[in-house]
């Protein structure tokens, strides 16, 4: 068990019949950082989060959250005291009012911050006496975020937190996340909004078909990942795609595109041996890395 890791899984697997929802996942989320969890719909992100919190059972493997074993029901119950979680669908108890659900949630956690609750209630313009069933989806999302951000947990797990929010609220959410990390909170969040991830994440994990394909620092991706485009007078020659530093090779007409994950300059020099008419090395954004990774898989 590593104290520097807020979340650590070992060969974590979840199977639904013949479908492998999460496959031998070895995930490591460092403390006091923002780690983004990216993947297509059905990639296994929510299932992973549910296994971490003991909501869904584990087929095999295991892991720890904040140093406590997730597969042990008693330890899992304890770890949930220090974790704030916003679920994917943001459904809340429809029979409660806003102030009732706040009162109920407040009573279960010792790390509740009344000042943060008052500030967020005002900021999100939530009507305290209104029934949750009459709130819009956006307002429900804000209320779910209020219940998480009114605490001072060790770990914040947010499953697509910005879904259904307007641009102003998304901006406020991102500021809250940054503020939480500044206060020593670890944030682990799944999202489909790559622009948001690029703004606030320190680390990125890309999951596809239940398997972890990328686990890297965002700075490393920005520094190391490069697209190398080679143009030829004739159809390009074949290249071994398993060469070190090359993640992907794509050929289209007389053009060959290489995605380099490290030592892009060395890869480009090697590419010169293919005698291209021209060679161009360009930085790669997270969106491209994500798309290339999941397409390739």
């Amino acid at each position: 068990m590593n104290d520097e890791m807020a979340i650590e899984t070992h060969e974590l697997t979840r199977r639904y019949g013949d479908t492998l929802a999460v496959s031998h996942l070895n995930l490591r989320v460092p403390r006091r950082q923002v780690t983004a969890f990216l993947g297509r719909n059905g990639a296994g992100k929510s299932t992973t989060i549910k296994m971490l919190l003991g909501i869904t059972s584990i087929t095999s493997g295991g892991g720890s959250v904040l140093g406590r074993a997730i597969q042990d029901p008693a330890q899992n119950c304890q770890l949930r005291r220090d974790v704030a979680y916003v679920a994917e669908d943001k459904r809340l108890y429809s029979y409660m009012t806003v102030e009732q659900i706040i009162r109920f949630t407040r009573s279960l956690y010792q790390d509740w911050q009344p000042a943060a609750e008052a500030r967020l209630l005002k900021q999100f313009r939530l009507p305290p006496r209104q029934k949750i069933k009459s709130l819009s989806k956006g307002m429900r999302t804000k209320l779910a975020l209020l219940l998480a951000f009114s605490r001072r947990p060790e770990l914040l797990i947010l499953d697509e937190p910005s879904e259904g929010l307007d641009p102003v609220s998304i901006e406020e959410l991102l500021q809250e996340i940054v503020g939480a990390v500044a206060n020593g909170v670890t944030v682990f969040f799944s999202s489909h909004q790559i622009a948001e991830v690029e703004r606030i994440a320190d680390r990125v994990c890309i999951l596809d078909q239940g398997a972890l394909l990328v686990d890297a620092c965002l700075d490393d991706i920005r520094r190391e990942y490069r697209r190398i485009t080679l143009s030829f007078y004739a159809p390009p020659p074949k290249v071994n795609p398993s060469l070190p530093g090359i993640k992907q090779v794509r050929i289209s007409g007389r053009q060959m595109t290489l995605l380099a994950t490290e030592n892009a300059n060395a890869v480009a020099e090697l590419a010169l041996d293919l005698h291209p008419a021209s060679i161009e090395v360009t930085p790669v954004g997270l969106r491209e890395v994500f798309l290339e990774t999941v397409r390739e898989n």
Partner: protein, 236 residues
Amino acid sequence: MLWYKAWLETRSRFAASLVTLTLVCGLFVHHALTMIRPTWTVDFNRLLYITQEFLALLWILSAVLLGMGGIVYEKAVGTSGLTLSLPVSRVRLQSVRITVGVLEAAAFGLIPWLTILAVSWRARMPLVLAQVAFYAALLVGGGLVYYAMAVLVSTVVEGAYSSTAIAIGLVFVTTVALDSWFRQLNLWRFVTGNFYLDVHTFLLTGHFPWLGMLVCLGVAALMFVASLLVILRRDF
């Protein structure tokens, strides 16, 4: 505060059921007031028994309605993730839900009978306290089996409507089947006091059936434990 959640979740069903049960009390009072007072007649005792039958029928429906909900239903409406991420065990969640339900079900049995008692006394109608206590105890103690059955069904079947329909169907089928083949085990006759009724005086006679009551409470407890085991093993 889990009590608070369980109460908020069930209070509208509880209030609606209690109003309905109280209306049945009103019918009793209305009929009783038409009788000659203060003569204590067989007709009056018969009215008391019929009231118990009506109360039992509505009590069972109310208990089945109370048994709706819980974490499995929450899965269907999408709030189970929120509930299960709370720092409480599944056993505690289910236990609190059951306890609140049992208290509410007890109120369904006691409040109507206390109302009848109070109104009868006020109207100077002669009501035997021991008979009322007998009826109320049979209704609540025996009826808990129906509530426990509804809770167990709600932990197996997700939808609120389907679990209610299945629970009501089970009540009906078990009553008819037991009455045909194992009449002595028919819970309906136990709950209404039919087993202990003197058909000449329409009074409940004999000692209170402690053994039958213990068996009912034991069966209810077993079903509650079974529901806990289902919740512990279930995936959400």
